[in-house]
Symmetry: C2
Subunit: 201 residues, 2 copies
């Protein structure tokens, strides 16, 4: 994070918390309900979904300008989804170690260089989910070790093809959309090696 510019000032009172109570919990989420007082002075009703894991995603960018994507049946939407490799890492554990394990398990890849390129709040009106997004380069193959609940397909496609599907709505996972757009931005702004930029774009 850089220094904040002057227009990013913070004004007004904050929220006043009042008696949150747990209404549901499982190993991944904790849902609380409360009636906090808004900065306007009015009482509000909130059901907040606390995530026990940090969301982690990685854009594996090969030396030839292709990227590796993974495909899987997603339970929540009841649909097949092509995405970048992602996973959850318990808050408090080293996120880089966890996303390195996900990249190996899902995509059968390890990387020489890792760079954190995004830090996002995924849904800040309802959940406290925080996501760290990485760029992995200098890739080489390792044996994949799939999770027992996952049946993962792998595809390696040109960067521009992946980006096109992310922005046209065919590949709607938000972490995937944001990381592909961020890599495009980095390439155009000269934040990636010139050789890699040339084959990506």
């Amino acid at each position: 994070m850089g220094q904040k510019p002057s227009w990013m000032r913070e004004s007004g009172p904050g929220w006043t918390e009042r008696e949150p109570k747990v209404v549901y919990e499982n190993p991944w989420i904790l849902v609380t309900e409360s009636r906090p007082i808004a900065p306007t002075g009015r009482e509000a009703l909130y059901g907040v979904v606390h995530m026990k894991n940090l969301a982690l995603g990685v854009l594996p960018l090969h030396d030839d300008g292709t990227v590796t994507l993974v495909g899987q049946q997603r339970y929540v939407f009841g649909a097949y989804s092509w995405e970048l490799p992602e996973g959850g890492g318990p808050v408090g554990e080293n996120p880089l170690t966890n996303i390195q394990r996900e990249l190996a398990e899902e995509a059968g890849l390890a990387a020489r260089e890792w760079r954190q390129i995004l830090s996002m709040q995924m849904s800040n009106a309802v959940t406290d989910e925080h996501c760290l997004g990485y760029l992995a380069t200098g890739l080489h193959e390792v044996p994949p070790r799939p999770d027992e609940n996952e049946l993962i397909a792998v595809a390696r496609v040109p960067f521009r093809e992946a980006l096109a599907q992310a922005v046209n709505g065919n590949m709607p996972d938000a972490i995937t959309v944001a990381l592909l757009l961020r890599a495009y931005h980095m390439a155009k702004e000269g934040e990636l090696p010139r050789r890699l930029t040339e084959v990506m774009l």
Copy 2:
């Protein structure tokens, strides 16, 4: 959405749903728990957060290449957050009408041209939240009408300044990050009027 390329094939069996039960509900979310059978054949445990609203966000891009951002105390993270104007629209209602109302209420702006530029799933392992992101141009001022639970500050800043804060982690809202990066991509790819691209970049 465009046609899907051949690598985007869908393989393997889907999930088998089993007896979801409601564990929490309020006017905005419905949380269910179930033990579906994964494509691998194993039983899983899922707590799913169903969102009653579609998430909506808009990038208001002025003719001079500035964008309007809004600042507010966010309850869930207990922190002040600068973001693009956003809101929720009940599924089934016209999303464009709803985001137009949010832009007027929060930022005091109306737009001649609206373009849907992103369609995303915000957190597809836990929630079914879907987001539509818009670009609004041809802006003019209208009287702001703030929500009774919101105390909104407004800032108008150069596009590049907003983008810099989005990618450096100071403005982490995911819809904001993705929409600013998407507008950068559109400008660089010639998808915006040349005059606007020149003042943005």
